[in-house]
């Protein structure tokens, strides 16, 4: 069955297919599933956003794709296929595609850059290892890359250590390394969370430009719906290890179907519209990861929860729009007011 998926996805020009992926941190108290059977794919050149709160499993999804799940966690079910040829991602095969056809940048590049090695050496090492470039070629290409990511004085930066750069500059260097091998998929895990807004805007612009120039797909992982809305064509909303809503950005913002998505949209104060005296907020807090949930994980916090919600886990399904999926029993019912009518 998974092969059918892959064949279909190949036709669709996908560069990553996540099929029924579950990730678990087994413990005495339960199965410890922190990602529960999620499926999605990203097409070549597409920009997809994965939104969720801390503990929703969004970063772990990225790590699962990269085959970098910290022990004792493991992929407990499902498959991941990556690259143009959609090879099955395993810890063994990752050596071939990690860093080349799939690259990742993280929230704090300081942890992915070696603090004791000059930046130039780190970029060149990468180029020489993956592309068998000669020493001189690697140097030339490294300067080009740093230039391309908007580093003012590439030759000087090459000689510097990561710690002397500002957060924004470090993220640019990380991006330069990530795109050095023309990845088909670039996973950006909270790339701007540690940055100031004005720098965030610069880095997001750069990320967009780079992905367009190299025709790399981007999977942007963020807690900030605003960032995702401005950057991505499609959005996946995660809650407690499940994708609860997915669809084109426009559709999700204009007509969110899941109560959680709706709450996310209204709990951030607007910058332009009239402000309410109180923000609409979701009562309670997300369930702790790894606890076995019966029914919908959002039900305890949901104002629309019915008896069925705490019994049966809602599957991701389509309503009217064939591209817009939601995992909610109540969505589409008469109960469900449109967000715009508020």
């Amino acid at each position: 069955m998974p092969t059918d998926h892959v064949e279909l996805a190949l036709l669709n020009d996908a560069v990553v297919v996540v099929d029924n992926l579950s990730v678990a941190f087994p413990s005495r108290s339960g199965s410890g599933e922190v990602i529960r059977s999620i499926s999605f794919s990203v097409k070549a050149g597409q920009r997809v956003g994965l939104v969720g709160e801390s503990g929703s499993g969004k970063s772990l999804t990225a790590r699962a794709i990269m085959q970098l799940i910290p022990a004792p966690g493991k992929i407990s079910a499902g498959e991941i296929h990556v690259g143009d040829d959609l090879t099955l991602a395993t810890v063994a095969s990752a050596k071939k595609w990690r860093g080349t056809s799939v690259a990742m940048i993280t929230q704090d590049p300081l942890s992915s850059l070696n603090p004791l090695v000059r930046i130039g050496v780190q970029i060149c090492e990468m180029l020489r290892h993956h592309r068998n470039a000669s020493r001189a070629d690697a140097r030339r290409r490294a300067v080009e890359l740093l230039n391309a990511v908007g580093i003012p004085n590439p030759k000087r930066t090459m000689r510097q250590f990561p710690s002397v750069l500002s957060g924004g500059m470090r993220q640019r260097v990380a991006l330069a390394i990530a795109i050095s091998c023309n990845p088909r998929l670039l996973i950006a895990d909270e790339p701007t969370t540690a940055l100031d807004v004005t720098i965030q805007a610069q880095v997001l612009d750069l990320l967009e430009k780079m992905s367009q120039e190299h025709n790399s797909a981007v999977l942007l992982i963020s807690h900030d719906l605003g960032v995702v809305a401005n950057f991505c064509e499609e959005i996946l909303v995660m809650y407690s290890g499940k994708i609860v809503e997915s669809g084109p950005t426009q559709d999700i913002l204009d007509g969110p179907l899941h109560p959680y998505t709706r709450a996310l949209l209204t709990s951030v104060p607007s910058m332009t519209e009239e402000l309410p005296a109180r923000l609409s907020s979701i009562a309670g807090s997300p369930p702790a990861g790894g606890v076995d949930v019966v029914g919908c994980a959002f039900a305890p916090r949901c104002s629309l929860a019915q008896a069925i919600c705490s019994e049966i886990n809602p599957e991701l399904r389509q309503l009217d729009d064939p591209f817009h999926d939601v995992a909610c029993h109540a969505a589409g019912d008469a109960l469900w007011p449109s967000v715009r009518s508020q």
Binding site: E53, A201, A229, L264, S267, M271, T272, A277, R301
Partner: protein
Amino acid sequence: MSFTLQPGETLGIAGESGSGKSSVARALVQLTRPTGGTVSLGGAPVTNLKGQRLKRFRRRMQMVYQDPYDSLDPRMSVSDAIGEALSVRGLPKTEHAAQVAQLLERVKLPATIAQRHPNQLSGGQRQRVSIARALAVNPEIIICDEAVAALDVSIRAQVLNLLKDIQHDTGVGYLFISHDLSTLRFMADHVAIMYVGRIVEYGTSEEVFSNPQHPYTRALIAAVPSVTRRGERRLKLSGEPPDPGNPPSGCPFHPRCPEAVETCRTERPELLTIGDAQKVACHVVQWGREKTPKTEVTA
């Protein structure tokens, strides 16, 4: 820099990292001593206090910190943490339990939480305990230093609502420090925008957000990613904030400013009133944008 905070009002301070907004907070509660100037509370100067007078003053101005994982002592239960504040107020131990329960109720936490330790609480719950601890000494002002920055959006909204409710009930004033402009727009009555240790624009929340004057304020507001303003052509800033220890000459913003003129390089603009209460530190705005000669800075 100088500013005033009226009782029961919220003053928001916005700025990027290195703008000095957290230093302001620390200087106000005198964790660090300001290098100059005075802080007055209720008309009386409170700078350079020592001993008992410093302790008395501290009760009047409290602080809620950014990091919910570090602002509570991991080895103290919730009731001990709040009890410590009650002891400072001089409340006998016998009355602690009742007061703790009352404070927990005020921050909308179940009373059962009193015996827990911070490691058994979520980030949002910890921040509520911090708020309860600050309230325990009946302060006149609470400084919220990025108090909701570490919280998830859904939890953040709860805490912001709670802070508003508390202000409504007790009339406490907030000094709300945040890098998040949308949060400030919701919380603050007045807003001060900081850049490299100075206020560049000050005014009511309404004035600053709907009619920003300083080019930096404009860029900052434009840079906020918002779901309601997608795809707009945005004013973008190039470059990075300067090293606060070595700011540029003249207006510290001039190397990044799209409107900078020659004067900006040499003379530092004063913070001057331009509207009813709105103040801006920008030559171009003070002269009037139309009247300013369009000469590019030769940088």
